[in-house]
């Protein structure tokens, strides 16, 4: 059963998250373990499993990035699993760019230049959005290699942004 199945949806890259949240509330009430307190063990277990499945599915589907990675996984490429992600080779020029940016960020960390780091993160945030959009187009077309490449980019760019966020947290404390 896929995360989409749990909500009775067909796999899609665009979702109405508000509607999904309402659906989660309604279904959570329907399958709430309290309502099955008097039921037999098997029914209680089934209700509990349904509740867990709903929450797990919601966590993935509510987030456009996680949702795109999940749709790619349904097409056979799991970028979250170490073993399968290891098969994905990003172009050298991209890795060089990542390395160079991480080195620049390291320099900014030492200089405690949070402002400049934020400027880099903003630029990378835009590239990440563009890569996500391209990934979605590729997934719609069933172009798995291109979707894998673009979501690979999203992964590295997200990692950079996380580093900047950690730096900002540190500067605040």
């Amino acid at each position: 059963m896929t995360h989409f199945d749990v909500f009775g949806l067909t796999p899609a890259l665009e979702l109405d998250v508000k509607a999904l949240e309402q659906q989660l509330r309604a279904l959570s009430l329907e399958f709430h373990p309290d309502r099955f307190a008097q039921a037999d063990a098997r029914t209680r277990l089934a209700a509990l499993e349904k509740t867990t499945a709903l929450n797990d599915a919601f966590k993935v589907l509510r987030d456009p990035v996680k949702r795109a990675f999940y749709v790619l996984k349904l097409k056979g490429v799991d970028l979250d699993s170490e073993a399968s992600a290891a098969q994905v080779k990003m172009p050298l020029s991209f890795l060089e760019e990542v390395m160079e940016r991480r080195e620049r960020l390291e320099g900014l960390k030492h200089a405690r230049d949070v402002e400049q780091a934020r400027a880099m993160a903003d630029e990378i945030e835009r590239e990440k959005s563009a890569a996500l959009e391209r990934a979605k187009v590729a997934l719609e077309r069933d172009d798995v290699p291109e979707a894998t490449h673009q979501l690979g980019r999203v992964r590295y760019l997200s990692r950079f942004i996380e580093e900047v966020e950690a730096l900002e947290e540190e500067a605040l404390s």
Partner: protein, 143 residues
């Protein structure tokens, strides 16, 4: 999850962090990444013309295990021939550092980095030799 003592040792006091001149014909650069976490590792080897690894430097942006794996391989490959260096496997690295299963990919990354660096050196050398017409070996004709 607790890191092993050896990981902590390398993480806190990494060996051979830095860069070598990537334009140097005797320097091979291996750059690898892990799409599951978005981390990158660069390993550079200075290799003599007769294929001995004289120096090794690394730069890794990643978790403690990735840093420890790359630090360890720089120690291991120094003084080895490239033929011996390519026989280092991720299993050797993972075992030496007692990496837990979820961190095995860090040792895979380090193994890939060694191979990529040596390949880069070999390609550079081949290009140098083909540029120098007198050094070009004639391909053996197929029987």
């Amino acid at each position: 999850m607790a890191y092993s003592d050896k990981v902590i040792e390398h993480y806190e006091n990494p060996h051979n962090v830095g860069t070598l001149d990537k334009e140097d014909p005797n320097v091979g650069t291996g750059l690898v990444g892990a799409p599951a976490c978005g981390d990158v590792m660069r390993l550079q080897l200075k290799i003599s013309d007769d294929g001995m690894i004289q120096d090794a430097k690394f730069k890794t942006f990643g978790c403690g295990s990735a840093i420890a794996s790359s630090s360890l391989v720089t120690e291991w490959v120094k003084g080895k021939s490239i033929e011996d260096a390519v026989t280092i496997t991720n299993k050797d690295i993972a075992q030496e550092l007692s990496l837990p299963p979820v961190k095995i990919h860090c040792s895979v990354l380090a193994e890939d980095a060694i191979k990529a660096a040596i390949k880069d050196f070999q390609e550079k050398r081949a290009r140098r030799q083909s540029g120098d017409a007198s050094a070009v070996k004639q391909p053996t004709t197929q029987p």
